[in-house]
């Protein structure tokens, strides 16, 4: 072999050598780059819980509703894990049914039905090695994709699922080590949602407390006048009687005694209403003595008892009689009180010459409606809630001289609701007001013996 051939052979071997080394180095480089990419993705995925924790407090303050909060939490989970879909679920108490609170990643607005899971696991995953069974089928059916990570917390009843449509590229197969990720994410979600719930309840309580304080302040402001006025009248007129010179008891003193009596009666009514309302507020209910009550008789009796008040106000009060007797299963005392409050209010707020009518109707289903309708001054839409509020009194030029506790309607509302019924108030300024007490069908009884 001559030199040229030797050199050529050497060159050939040299080229082959470099080619081999180049390929080997290149392959190592590719493997290293893939490892780097995988490590980066894993680091990003492992930061999911840390990111959730970091953003949690900001989420509570920044979002208005639990629904918006759930969406944002799932969004963080999806972005950090680079998964396709995620869902948050809640187990119905005492059942194997899970309601789906929120889902992300479906694209279109999908409404998912509740899911039934027998013995829901605390942690579960599916990958291409997972054997198909009832449980894996049920869990993958939630997100409708084959590769799913699942975590469930029995204490709160909440569960989370995240999943992928494929196990390729950025979506690697789920592994047992992912348990930390999904359980951590679920824990943070539970804590954040719980805090949000507490915050909302606290805000509600603060609003109610403020309303109570306002009501209390209103009561103190208005009611002290209501108490002092009749007391001053009692004291004043009784002093006049006491200091009257010896002599016959003439009409003046009879009139004074009348004022003392009226003021005392008014005072008694105020105190009775306050005590009644306080009892309702404290216990939530008053014990009902429910018996069949002759509705006609009660309506007639109440109207008759208020005739003198009506006459004094120049208002005509009447009660319609039923064609056939109607019996209502109710507490008679409470029924009398409701009707007395409503008819009394109607007389109070109707100018002279007006009318107040009491009627009752039985519909086809057997529901009973008792209505007190007046042709009085009426109320605007804004005034109706005020009238129904404890101690709320609608102010107007006509009513300024007509004191009251502001508890009549609230007491009626409470008592009718205790009977399972409703109070409906319709009113129009300048036309009049109709208050309806609606009792459910189960309370109307066939004609027969009744308390009257």
């Amino acid at each position: 072999m001559d030199m040229t051939e030797t050199r050529q052979m050497r060159l050939k071997r040299e080229i082959e050598y470099y080619r081999r080394e180049c390929n080997d180095l290149g392959a190592r480089l590719i493997r290293l780059q893939e490892e780097q990419s995988r490590a980066f993705r894993e680091a990003r995925r492992s930061r999911t819980v840390a990111r959730l924790i970091r953003e949690a407090y900001g989420l509570i303050d920044g979002t208005d509703s639990p629904e918006a909060l759930r969406a944002r939490l799932l969004e963080i989970v999806l972005e950090s894990t680079q998964c396709d879909r995620a869902a948050l679920l809640s187990r119905r108490e005492g059942s194997n049914q899970f309601d789906i609170l929120h889902v992300l990643g479906f694209g279109n607005d999908v409404s998912l039905a509740a899911v039934s899971l027998q013995d829901p696991p605390r942690f579960f995953l599916t990958n291409s090695s997972t054997l198909l069974n009832e449980q894996s089928h049920a869990i993958t059916a939630i997100l409708r994709i084959p590769f799913v990570l699942w975590a469930y917390d029995p204490g709160s009843g909440l569960a989370m699922a995240v999943g992928n449509a494929s196990e390729a590229n950025v979506s690697r197969p789920f592994e047992p080590e992912d348990q930390e990720l999904i359980e951590g994410a679920l824990s943070v979600c539970i804590d954040v949602l719980h805090r949000k719930q507490l915050e909302m309840e606290l805000q509600r309580a603060m609003v109610e407390a403020k309303a109570g304080r306002d009501a209390h302040a209103n009561f103190l402001a208005g009611f002290s006048h209501e108490l002092r006025t009749p007391l001053n009248a009692i004291l004043g007129f009784s002093e006049l009687i006491r200091e009257a010179p010896e002599g016959p008891f003439d009409d003046r003193y009879r009139e004074y005694a009348g004022h003392v009596y009226d003021s005392g009666s008014h005072l008694l009514q105020l105190i009775t209403e306050i005590l009644e309302f306080a009892s309702l507020e404290n216990s939530g209910t008053v014990p009902l003595d429910e018996k069949p009550v002759d509705l006609d008789a009660v309506m007639t009796s109440v109207v008759q008892s208020l005739q003198s008040l009506a006459k004094e106000a120049g208002v005509s009060v009447s009660a319609d009689r039923f064609a056939r007797p109607v019996r209502l299963l109710a507490d008679q005392r409470a029924l009398r009180q409701m009707l007395t409050n409503l008819v009394g209010n109607a007389i109070k707020f109707t100018p002279p010459g007006g009318t107040v009518g009491v009627s009752a109707a039985l519909d086809e289903e057997g529901s009973v409606a008792i209505r007190v309708a007046d042709t009085g001054i009426g109320m605007s839409m804004e005034q109706i809630p005020v009238a129904l509020r404890p101690f709320g009194r609608v102010a107007s030029a006509y009513t300024s001289g007509h004191g009251g506790s502001g508890l009549g309607l609230p007491i009626c509302l409470s008592l009718v609701e205790q009977h399972g019924g409703r109070l409906v108030l319709d009113s129009e300024p300048g036309t009049g007001t109709t208050v309806s007490l609606l009792f459910p069908a189960g309370r109307s009884l066939p004609a027969g013996d009744a308390v009257s």
Partner: protein, 402 residues
């Protein structure tokens, strides 16, 4: 100037509404909109939200794994970005072909024929189409026949057609794709928009791939399926080169084959390479499938490594070059960045987002509008326009100098 808005929200309609509200009234006589929305969205609901303020304006674009519209750079799947164009801005008639499923090259020719017939053949063209023909089994609409169809009609001697565009996808896992065709949402659809005779497009193509193997010769190929390298089953050649199947559990979108143009032994120049991502591998058939069917038997290729440092260096160079050109010429009407989704750091493992680096280097206040893409289309070194893989294409659209 083109007005751009972007937003992120998990509700599809709401994200459209937010963007629409931001853009309302910004362009006096808006003519069309270019829109991309994240793959986790409902595209119809997104359009409905957008149209609450923008009305019946034609909207083109489609799905994207993420958007690049500073300050928003994100690929969670819940983003959206819209560019609104007025009468004085780039953009002409919106030409749509819904026949991609019947043949990509024929669809390209039909679009080109309409461009030619309308007198728009010499204008730069924006091309968008849906990449995913079928989700399972995965089958693509390849870009090369579509682009070739356009070039068949539009290329002139010495003046190749300038085509900028993208094959759209919904996510980094090639889950699906859709297109906004001006009227609504469509599949198997290509949209071509001539950008106007008054406008030119200057492109910077940024790669980041470097050869990792010696040259191999494709000895048998059918379409996009490479059966043999150096006379041996391609699958075996690649696996052996890697060091065994365990070395790289999945070849899909992990490896790239590159064909070098010009002198094969010239010093490395990234612009000399046409790279094709390996889409999948079939052990039984001994083949590997690449993204595009435009390699041929006898072609020499190398396995390319996606070098993150090179990618970032390439962005630094390309963005700086673009910034110089912008400073020297007319203000751009639009800076469109078509960025391969594989370059996102969650896929590449890069220390930072290369799109973020681009935004930092480019001057502030530019109408910069970008999105993550499946396939990028751009002219190669002032040569013919072709599909590219794993590239970032910065297309600066500006008025021609008088």
């Amino acid at each position: 100037m083109v007005e751009i808005a972007a937003a992120r929200h998990t509700d599809s309609r709401e994200v459209g509404r937010l963007i629409g509200q931001h853009l309302a009234g910004t362009v006096p006589k808006a003519v069309w909109a270019l829109a991309f929305c994240g793959g986790k969205h409902d595209p119809a609901a997104f359009l409905d939200g957008l149209r609450e303020t923008l009305g019946t304006l034609p909207v083109v674009g489609g799905s994207a794994p993420g958007v690049i519209a500073p300050p928003l750079i994100s690929y969670a799947g819940f983003e959206a970005a819209v560019a609104l164009f007025g009468e004085e801005d780039p953009g002409g008639p919106i030409l749509v072909d819904h026949g991609l499923a019947e043949g990509e090259r024929e669809a390209g020719r039909r679009l080109a024929a309409r461009l030619d017939a309308g007198g728009w053949a010499s204008q730069p063209v924006l091309l968008l189409y849906d990449s995913i023909a079928c989700r399972a089994p995965l089958r693509l609409h390849p870009a090369s026949p579509l682009v070739q169809g356009l070039r068949d009609v539009l290329d002139r001697p010495g003046a190749p057609a300038v085509i900028i565009g993208s094959g759209l996808i919904t996510d980094l896992n090639l889950g699906d794709s859709w297109v906004f065709d001006g009227a609504g949402v469509a599949k198997h659809c290509a949209v071509a928009i001539p950008l106007g005779q008054a406008f030119e497009v200057v492109t910077e193509v940024m790669h980041g791939c470097r050869p990792a193997s010696s040259f191999m010769t494709i000895t048998r190929i059918e379409g996009a399926e490479v059966f043999e390298l150096d006379g041996r089953p391609a699958y075996e050649v690649i696996i052996e080169w890697l060091g065994g199947e365990a070395a790289l559990p999945g070849l899909s979108l992990s490896l790239t084959l590159g064909a070098k143009h010009g002198d094969p032994f010239a010093p490395f120049d990234e612009n000399a390479y046409v790279n094709r991502l390996i889409l999948g591998a079939d052990r039984a058939r001994g083949s590997i499938t690449i993204f595009e069917p435009d390699f041929s038997a006898g072609e020499q290729v190398q396995v390319m490594s996606r070098d993150n440092q090179l990618m970032l260096d390439s962005v630094r160079r390309g963005a700086a070059a673009a910034a110089r050109r912008i400073a020297e010429g007319e203000s751009p009407a639009l800076c469109l960045y078509v960025d391969c989704a594989g370059r996102a750091s969650v896929r590449s493992g890069a220390e930072r987002e290369e799109s973020g680096l681009l935004c930092e280097i480019l001057p502030k206040g530019l109408p910069l509008f970008g999105f993550y893409s499946g396939v990028e289309v751009a002219p190669m070194a002032e040569g013919p326009s072709m599909p590219l893989d794993w590239t970032g294409v910065l297309a600066v659209v500006r008025r021609r100098s008088r």
